[in-house]
């Protein structure tokens, strides 16, 4: 079952912050985050595990709320290079494969 991402799209000015949410109706064990630039392949950003710590990648960080079965991706002090579509991928504890959300398109303007 695919996770649900929100919002579908967000437009930011450089330096602004944004939060992207990823929710699942299925018990989660791991949540992956990827970023895809237009016309390119998705690129791995980070993994969050159930019971694990909040992760970070440059000024992009993420958290995992076990009670809500939800992960949030935080874009802090956004840069032009943060533009792209962000996907969350979720899996259970016995999964070999990820189910991906529909994506959140982030546009950062100067």
């Amino acid at each position: 079952q695919q996770p649900v991402q929100s919002p579908q799209a967000v437009i930011l000015r450089e330096g602004e912050d944004a939060v992207i949410n990823c929710s699942s109706s299925k018990a989660l064990y791991s949540v992956h985050w990827y970023r895809q630039k237009h016309g390119e392949a998705p690129v791995f950003l980070m993994i969050l595990l159930k019971g694990g710590e909040q992760k970070g990648h440059d000024k992009i960080s993420a958290s995992f709320n076990e009670k809500k079965q939800q992960s949030s991706l935080y874009l802090t002090a956004s840069q032009l290079s943060y533009s792209g579509t962000y996907f969350c991928g979720t899996g259970g504890s016995n999964d070999y494969k990820l189910s991906f959300g529909a994506g959140t398109t982030v546009t950062v303007r100067a």
């Binding site: 990827y34 791995f44 993994i47 494969k97 529909a102």
Partner: protein
């Protein structure tokens, strides 16, 4: 390292034709996957493999076939192409079991149009 290599990058097929999308990885990853991405949509799993000789269906396997005779190669076969198979196809690989510590490495994709 080349990572995950997909060929061709672009292809136009006529309805009813067949083709094979090639995927090769040089990272000795056991886990390989085929996803399709329709415009404005997320990635839908077609087939996956957990090792040479072992394959299984994903969410949208109809109209496709795969094989995994070696660790490196995971080709995707389209038989009797239909317009609904117009999409961008991504191959991915991963080294980790249960996805706990290892992300996917994606190939650059194959853009397929069926007319």
């Amino acid at each position: 390292n080349a990572g995950v290599t997909q060929t061709p990058k672009f292809r136009i097929l006529k309805i009813g034709q067949s083709m094979t999308l090639q995927c090769t990885q040089d990272m000795n990853h056991n886990y390989m996957y085929w996803y399709r991405q329709d415009p404005g949509m997320g990635l839908k799993l077609i087939y996956y493999s957990v090792g040479a000789g072992i394959t299984d269906k994903g969410e949208v396997p109809n109209g496709y076939n795969v094989s995994r005779s070696t660790t490196e190669d995971f080709p995707l076969r389209l038989e009797l192409a239909a317009p609904s198979q117009t999409s961008v196809y991504f191959c991915a690989s991963s080294s980790g079991q249960y996805l706990a510590n290892y992300g996917y490495t994606f190939g650059s994709g194959t853009r397929l149009t069926v007319v």
